[in-house]
Point group: C2
Chain length 246, copies 2
């Protein structure tokens, strides 16, 4: 699957240099492009070849109608951070997560322009561009930078402003994949945003493999078939955020 | 000077891999490291060789006590985004600006890890890694992403929350150099933050060369010898922000 991700990166870089067809989904801030669609087709096809019996849950609807995590389930985000993809041609990710009977099994986050591929899972460990990635230090909230989303921060949802005040500062990049990758790399002690399953499916596998914690903001388990406010953080930062984020 | 910047990048990447000595300046969020100091020494020495008569205004105080912009003035930020440098080993910049009798003349912003060197000025134009950089499209605020600082956004200083609401969204990276570079590249339509001279000296030269506008948030000219809330934006986004940012 890493080879598929790498081939896919090349496809996306080429497509990014051509004319994009951009459409709004639910609002002017919720975009989809021809590349999201063609890239989802590509990934879903590769997954069907690798694992014909599996179900595929994909953001743009090219996969299956998945109502249970039983068996093999692949969760695909062909372009995470489409707003950045369209307006920055940078700071977006391709993500694939693989679950077996609900168990996080493999995850892939490819920060395309930075050329950082995070890959792995509980059996094989996590690699960054093929090199083993060590677990990030278990820093607490006050010892690190915290990844936020603009709307949550401005609305002060979940006491985000208190969370940021307790941290060393907010960072907002507009892509769950890029920001979860930063938590994996130890660049952020945590990330909190309202996420859909494909936004955090890959990141959950990788994060849990590295000893990070992934839950809803109220501390309850995430559900891979529904959306929620999801917190990805070091163990210590996770505790600190839960205590603040009422 | 581009060769100096490139050599300097290599020095910083090597130093970044060694043990950092970190000290707080005015607060736990205002850091300085041994690399800021050694790198400022390096840049100030190179500038003294190139332009012995010039005055040098440098963040960490290795330069001169500069009280006038008359003659040749170099303004140096050896590591912009020191918090990111320390906690992310990523998303920081080296910046040098050159002014002659107050006129913006040459600017250099090097986003070190991304390996993006923006260089140039009004006579030679602006290059990105040696290739001519076209002026970004003159998009207005509602057509693009806007670069903010966490503290201004949370405190809603200058109506930042209204500014963000009018844009396509906030991006916060924690480095003036990296974010001004994103405005140059057309990845953001503007950036507003409280900045010191070395935070925007290079960016002002490059931005104005590309037809972007750099003023204080009240629309008055920036002063290269004092700090202020500085807005770097496309012409149209600049007008839109000034109308909102009371």
């Amino acid at each position: 699957m890493q080879a598929v991700m790498k081939a896919d990166r090349q496809r996306v870089l080429v497509a990014m240099g051509s004319h994009l067809t951009v459409a709004e989904k639910t609002s002017r801030r919720d975009l989809v492009t021809n590349v999201d669609h063609s890239n989802e087709d590509y990934l879903v096809e590769r997954i069907r070849e690798l694992d014909p019996q599996a179900k595929v849950l994909a953001e743009e609807g090219r996969g299956d109608h998945v109502t249970s995590m039983r068996g093999h389930v692949w969760i695909v985000d062909p372009i995470d951070g489409t707003m950045n993809f369209v307006h920055q041609r940078n700071h977006f990710a391709i993500m694939v997560g693989y679950y077996v009977d609900g168990a996080p099994t493999l995850g892939y986050i490819y920060d395309v322009v930075a050329d950082r591929l995070f890959a792995g899972g509980p059996v094989v460990g996590v690699t960054l561009n093929g090199q083993p990635l060590a677990a990030p230090a278990d820093l607490t909230l006050s010892e690190g930078l915290f990844g936020a989303s603009g709307p949550l921060l401005i609305a002060n949802k979940f006491q985000m402003q208190r969370v940021i005040a307790a941290s060393l500062g907010a960072r907002i990049l507009g892509s769950a994949g890029v920001q979860i990758a930063q938590v994996l790399a130890g660049e952020l002690v945590g990330y909190l945003s309202y996420l859909r399953p494909w936004d955090f499916a890959a990141g959950r596998v990788l994060a849990e493999t590295l000893g990070l914690v992934v839950t809803q903001v109220d501390g309850t388990p995430v559900n891979m078939l529904s959306s929620g406010a999801v917190l990805v953080a070091t163990k210590r930062a996770h505790r600190a955020v839960l205590a603040l984020a009422k």
